[in-house]
Amino acid sequence: MKIAVSSTGKDMESPIDPRFGRARQFILFDPDRGAFEVIDNSVNLNAAQGAGIQTAQRIADSGASVLISGNCGPKAFQVLSAAGVKVYTCEAKNVMEALALYNAGKLTEISSANVEGHWL
């Protein structure tokens, strides 16, 4: 059960990126192995439109079953739900803290987008 966290950097101490669709990268943590990998998201960072949709596709494709991010818009949430990825929002200061809060059961799963779409 892998956990994806939107991140501004490439390690566990990196501040989490409050944006989902246009997050610079994701830390994909595998609790079974205690290891993580970095998912680059620069393509979607620069997308003209539909960044949330394609980032959600990428997260689902990575095998993550949990996503932790600052916010999640309506289209991204729709894709993540369809793919069976659970979405948690948090305001932790870095990736490690976000994972700790998740493990302690202190994050709440959201059941719909917590922010509006941008212009569509």
Partner: protein, 282 residues
């Protein structure tokens, strides 16, 4: 005398519709295409709407899940990020789709067909010798160029005047794309000048001949005049700031109702433009 003349501007509210309607009324016979589909208003000045209206659709993909094996060729192809695919499930986001049909072409399983999605409608009207066609984008739709192209499909064989949407982005470019000449309506303010420059740069890139009409020319500064002088842009007309024009406009009257003498001036402008820029050489 086939001439397609677009009336455009960078800045909104400079008088595009006012000018397009006045030019149409000064013409002998004309097709007037209201391509400002986000807020079409030609019908307010030229009442005479027919009952005839026509829906405008765009094609969007629909996926037959019994054929889809979630290979994601469509997702990788789509430049507009309008699709997401998982085993057993495909999501299409119609509002992001540009109807290019690429997903259908690249699908190795032929699982994608197209279905229609309504984006707006056309209405048709006649006022004197002016035949007009107007596009109206449905509320909530954001992509106007396909609807603008549907309006442009009704271009006449003789003189066609296009009331273009403001700005210099896709809708404006779609609206002026077919024209032989573009009249840019501007106003002598820093905002008007800034957006005039953007429009001029756009039209130069499109290699469209153009000229300028300055509306409310006596109300602002000298910036627009100076710019046109330096850039050698022809100024066809200067319309003064006038309370009378504004009052008549506010009750649905036209510029020619306010200043009948302009009819002759507009006729002359049209005659000159037809002579110089007519699409056919006849």
């Amino acid at each position: 005398m086939a001439l397609t003349l677009a009336v455009a501007s960078g800045k909104g509210g400079t008088g595009k519709t006012t000018l397009a309607v006045a030019l149409a009324l000064a013409a002998k016979e004309v097709t007037l295409l209201d391509c400002d589909v986000e807020e079409p208003n030609v019908h307010l000045f030229l009442p005479g709407e027919n009952q005839r209206s026509q829906l405008v659709n765009v094609p969007i993909p629909q996926v037959d899940m019994s054929l889809c094996d979630a290979c994601r060729a469509c997702v990788d192809f789509c430049e507009f990020n309008a699709l997401a695919v998982f085993p057993g499930k495909t999501l299409v986001f119609p509002e992001l789709c540009h109807s290019c049909g690429g997903c259908k072409l690249v699908c190795p399983k032929q699982a994608i067909t197209e279905t229609n999605r309504r984006i707006g409608d056309l209405s048709f009207g006649q006022f004197g010798k002016v035949n007009w066609v107007q596009g109206r984008l449905d509320v909530g739709q954001t992509m106007s160029p396909p609807l603008i192209r549907a309006v442009l499909a009704h271009k006449g064989n003789g003189l066609t005047i296009i009331d273009a949407p403001p700005g210099t982005s896709c809708p404006m470019i779609a609206a002026v794309g077919l024209s032989d000449y573009v009249l840019l309506v501007t106003e002598p303010t820093p905002f008007g000048l800034n957006d005039l420059k953007l429009a001029v740069e756009t039209l130069r890139q499109m290699q469209k001949p153009f000229g300028v009409i300055i509306n409310r020319f006596d109300s602002g500064d000298e910036g627009v005049e100076g710019y046109c002088l330096v850039e050698e842009i022809e100024i066809w007309m200067r319309i003064p700031q006038s309370r009378k024009i504004a009052e008549i406009y506010s009750v649905g009257g036209t510029l020619l109702d306010a200043v009948p003498e302009y009819k002759e001036q507009f006729s002359r402008i049209l005659k000159d433009l037809v002579q110089e820029f007519s699409g056919d050489e006849a």
